[in-house]
């Protein structure tokens, strides 16, 4: 096998393990329905993976630095087997447990892959390709997950990860890493400004990678495949970012953070419920992700050795950020969802009461609407079901459209404050970049 093929297989495994922090976002509504759990509980499918990855990255990096090849093999096997168990899980607790083990395997795989790439390709090239794989994984994750959820079922997100991981074992076949070539040297202290900015930026990006998907699927009732097409704007923009011609780590990290902040603030100020409104903000977020995450990861790795350990710090910072984002944003979103539900219920009641319908028709519509609202059990109700089987007169059509409009308004506004808070986190990341610009520039 050529060196190029080995590198591709390794980077694909790294991208898969890093995509795992966001790949299930479009599948969350299906997982929520499959196991009959609440939004707050289903978010643990994301938090458990990210928390374990954040906690496990540094110890895994120390192990990887000593025995990269053995740690990589172990990481691939653990990640692959745990992925298969996730896909076959028959209950929610087993899924959560397998996700935790998957994260342990992911931490070993990601850090050992960096160490191995550093040995074979040199520090600069290894850091560049490893960071790019991480950005690609995070950006592509939601779109790929959404497409798989609709076309094959959410289980296939995990079932397909297993062969991708195991394929990376081929990259190790017949290869022995000579310890003499291993990076040895002084472990410089972690790059605090870059890692802090990375944590804040990752926390902000949680809104784009998690809440935006929920808004599209649960709020605006899009199919996962449609939502996957919509959120594919982000990875396309992320891949285009390096071609913009922004040069220098401070410029890339600074303008990247500002772009992410601008995109998230725009998502918090959506003027309508059309998915098209999300496209310009996603372009900003994708460009910002491509510029800032790559630049900050580079800054944290450049001139520091061993690479695996500093790579471990970047992984820990990123996934700590994701966990922080979920801890901060999910309660805000849930509280706002409850508030907006009450507002929408009152606005919907007014529409039915004031409708130009005979009183008996109003009673029938009201009963059916209340039935679907109750059946939704704190989720967003399917108003169309309340009108199924009715002969639609213009007056009845007006009532249905009015109710759907109120529902769209409530769903959109329920996410608004979370996006604005996430925008604030991205601005904090910008401040950290500006304050620590001298160290980042070095």
């Amino acid at each position: 096998m050529s060196d190029r093929a080995r590198r591709v297989l390794l980077l694909l495994a790294v991208a898969t393990a890093l995509a795992d922090s966001s790949v299930v976002t479009l599948a969350l509504p299906d997982i929520l329905r499959r196991f009959d759990v609440e939004i707050g509980e289903v978010a643990r499918v994301l938090t458990s993976y990210n928390a374990i990855l954040a906690l496990g990255a540094i110890p895994a990096a120390y192990l990887a630095q000593r025995r990269p090849q053995r740690v990589l093999t172990t990481g691939i096997v653990v990640f692959g087997v745990a992925s298969a168990v996730c896909g076959l899980a028959g209950n929610f607790d087993l899924l959560l447990g397998a996700r935790c083990i998957q994260a342990v395997g992911g931490a070993l795989l990601i850090t050992a892959a960096l160490e191995l790439l550093t040995i074979t390709d040199g520090e600069a090239r290894a850091a560049r390709s490893w960071a790019a794989a991480g950005v690609a994984g995070a950006a592509v994750g939601p779109a790929v997950g959404g497409a798989l959820t609709q076309l094959a079922g959410w289980e296939w997100i995990f079932l397909l990860q297993a062969p991708i991981a195991f394929a990376a074992l081929l990259a190790l076949r017949g290869r022995h890493v000579d310890p003499a070539f291993r990076t040895r040297g002084f472990v410089r202290h972690p790059h605090l400004p870059a890692l802090s900015a990375l944590t804040l930026l990752s926390a902000a990006l949680t809104a784009a990678l998690f809440l935006l998907v929920l808004l599209l699927v649960e709020g605006w009732r899009l199919e996962p495949l449609q939502a996957a097409v919509i959120v594919s704007v982000m990875p396309v923009a992320a891949f285009a970012a390096p071609r913009l011609g922004v040069r220098g780590p401070v410029a890339e990290a600074g303008v990247g953070s500002l772009l992410v902040a601008g995109g998230l603030l725009a998502l918090g100020l959506l003027p309508g419920a059309s998915p098209w409104w999300t496209v310009p903000p996603q372009v900003l977020i994708g460009l910002g992700l491509g510029l800032a995450v790559t630049a900050l990861t580079h800054a944290a790795l450049q001139g520091r050795s061993p690479q695996a350990i500093h790579g471990g710090w970047t992984i820990a910072a990123r996934h700590l950020g994701v966990v922080l984002g979920l801890i901060v944003l999910v309660p805000i979103f849930q509280a706002d969802l409850d508030h907006e539900r009450d507002q929408a219920l009152q606005a919907g009641t007014a529409i039915v009461l004031d409708a130009n319908l005979p009183p008996t028709a109003k009673i029938g519509v009201a009963r059916d609407v209340v039935r679907v609202v109750d059946a939704a059990d704190r989720r967003i109700p399917d108003i169309n079901a309340a009108f199924a089987g009715r002969t639609m007169t213009p007056a009845l059509e007006a009532v249905r459209n009015g109710l759907l409009d109120e529902l769209d308004r409530a769903a959109t506004h329920a996410f608004s404050r979370s996006f604005l808070v996430a925008g604030g986190l991205a601005l904090l990341s910008l401040i950290v970049v500006l304050v620590g610009r001298r160290e980042i520039e070095l």
Partner: protein, 149 residues
């Protein structure tokens, strides 16, 4: 600073500002009408329509007295349990709710009489009934018209 950095920074600020200018901050469920503001009498469908309009007007009046929206009161009237939860949430006793509902029904009868939807005799007889009916009877009277959700 390079032009591309300036251009991207301007873009990052321009998109949220444009969204705000397009009404982004105001895209939320519409506020419900103030129940203390008079609404036009709009009865449809004969006696049933008049009864429905009476119930709506009565809930407006009661909601105005209780300083809540008509819609939240209507939702509370779905059942006795909902009404008790509503009372607890707004710090209202059964007596206060009962009194407000009587006032609301009386206001609705006055409105109906002014709109010539009912005659004077009917208004007086219904007014007497409203003053004597117990809370459950008032609830049933409202639920029997439009509010049996």
């Amino acid at each position: 600073m390079k032009p591309v950095v300036i251009a991207l920074s301007v873009l990052a600020l321009a998109v949220p500002v444009t969204y705000a200018a397009a009404g982004g901050g105001d895209y939320k469920p519409k506020a419900v009408a103030d129940p203390c503001e008079p609404r036009p009498w709009n009865a449809q469908g004969g006696v049933t329509g008049v009864a429905a309009q009476l119930a709506l007007s009565a809930t407006d009046g009661a909601a105005c007295r209780l300083h809540v929206s008509r819609e939240s009161l209507v939702l509370a009237l779905a059942s006795r349990a909902d009404l008790e939860a509503f009372g607890a949430a707004h710090g209202l006793t059964n007596t206060e709710i009962e009194s407000a509902m009587r006032d609301g029904l009386q206001r609705a009868l006055d409105d109906a009489q002014r709109a010539k939807a009912i005659g004077t005799l009917t208004a007086v007889l219904l007014g007497q009934a409203v003053q004597r009916l117990p809370l459950d009877g008032l609830l049933r009277a409202l639920q029997g018209t439009t509010l049996n959700w």
